[in-house]
Symmetry: C2
Subunit: 255 residues, 2 copies
DNA sequence: CCCAATTTGTTCGTATGTATA
DNA sequence: TTATACATACGAACAAATTGG
């Protein structure tokens, strides 16, 4: 694991910016992370070093990092350093996967690839991704199992321009989560997402994949995933069989 | 609006507590708010005053208040003060109401009371509320309209012991949201909630209330609302007609 | 096992800026 | 205008966790 001792950073002048210093510092750090100057998993330079480089006090630097921590963009470890957050199963489960068994049992799903093909963005996907209709994309279909049972059917649309060189083989042989693959192989970090949920009747395809009766009520989750710069990078429609599982949402978890 | 100039607060000794001072300060402030020493809408004493009373620096005091702000328990207003957060339509919409029209239009619902009766907790409600089976409760049924259309059917279970003296008249004639009523009339502040969502087929009752076909897929939201001390105070089952509306969830909103 | 160096975590105090009444 | 309150920024000291010798 690389430890950055110094990275290219702007020295900030007080008042030169129309915002508080700690905001400018945050933007500068974000820029360095987005640009790849510090890769996921790497440690940032120490706080004292960063503060000196950018010409601000340690307190101001920490204020900026506090924000990045709150957004899960970096993680602090006392005695070790501050690291660019990496996507892995823990974070996936915590931040991006909301389905668990009705009795509260929470486990990582087993993912099974159903299909992988080059395609073009339809109207809905193009709109969601803020891209042009008909733009080339990769379309991927997964089935997720929990406790051995098929529970989620995922369909993903990825703009081909953002994922150049992604093949079925590379996708299938990823060592960790999908978002980990985006991050390590394509420099795309999913920072947050918007989801819209609705109930509908399972169509023939979804029913077959999930092993439920056609017409059965299922939960549909439509997600746009955004990168660090808030640019849409993935459009996903998940269908969830909620006979024995729930979609869980915690409103205002305690700190 | 009352402005507290001094409230009963413990003076904290460093090291006397097995946690950082700012955590102890936060707990002490929470205690004061829970006890009603500062009522919702009231201003806390100024930061300098609080810091002096509790024997900590302003920086430490602010660190504690930062946490309370993040949890929406208090709100700061520069130049005015720090206020105990009040439940109102804005907060309701922002934190506890997740249904909006599919095109993204977000409005406060019109609420219509369908029934109000004294009852007893069934197994499911008792479990959710952490109370004994058969304990007296109030059971309330509402219909919520968005853009004139019936969209949500709510059933609420309230432990009678926590809402003594709540009558249909008082409930019906509340001037604002339900959570505002809990807060102002019963000293119960809903601070957060857990929700579990699933899809199912509308039963006859829900279908009639929402004006959809029986057997139509609808979204069911089961919510436990917790007060400041994390005690369950309300159990609610909402049924949402998602033909033209969605349940919206923002994962990691930016700060 | 202990020590020393490094890094983040906590706490203090002070000064100045900005918004409000 | 003045006073008050929160917001930003600085600098310093020590505590706690980690790592490597």
């Amino acid at each position: 694991m690389k430890v950055s001792t110094a990275i290219a950073l702007q020295r900030l002048q007080p008042e030169a910016v129309g915002m508080p210093m700690y905001r400018a510092v945050k933007r500068e750090l974000l820029r360095a992370i987005e640009s790849g100057a510090v890769a996921p998993g790497d440690a940032l330079p120490a706080e004292a070093m960063l503060a000196q480089q950018m010409g601000v006090s340690v307190g101001t630097l920490r204020r900026a990092v506090d924000d990045l921590v709150a957004e899960h963009i970096v993680v602090r470890r006392q005695g070790r350093g501050t690291f660019v957050a990496m996507h892995g199963s823990e974070r996936f489960l915590f931040q991006f996967f909301h389905v668990e068994r009705s009795d509260g049992l929470r486990q990582a799903p087993e993912v099974e690839l159903l299909s992988f093909e080059k395609s073009r963005l339809d109207d809905e996907a193009a709109t969601a991704l803020g891209r042009r209709l008909g733009e080339p994309c990769l379309q991927i279909e997964n089935r997720l199992r929990l406790q051995g049972r098929p529970v989620v059917h995922d369909r993903l649309w990825l703009p081909a321009l953002l994922f150049r060189g992604l093949t079925e083989k590379r996708f299938r042989e990823r060592p960790s989560t999908i978002y980990h693959l985006y991050q390590t192989e394509f420099g795309i970090t999913v920072a947050r997402a918007h989801e819209r949920l609705r109930a509908l009747s399972a169509d023939r395809h979804a029913a077959r994949v999930l092993g439920v009766a056609q017409g059965q009520a299922v939960l549909q989750v439509r997600r746009v995933a955004l990168d660090l710069g808030a640019q849409p990078v993935e459009w996903r429609i998940s269908t969830v069989a909620t006979a024995q599982h729930d979609y869980v949402n915690l409103l205002s978890r305690p700190v």
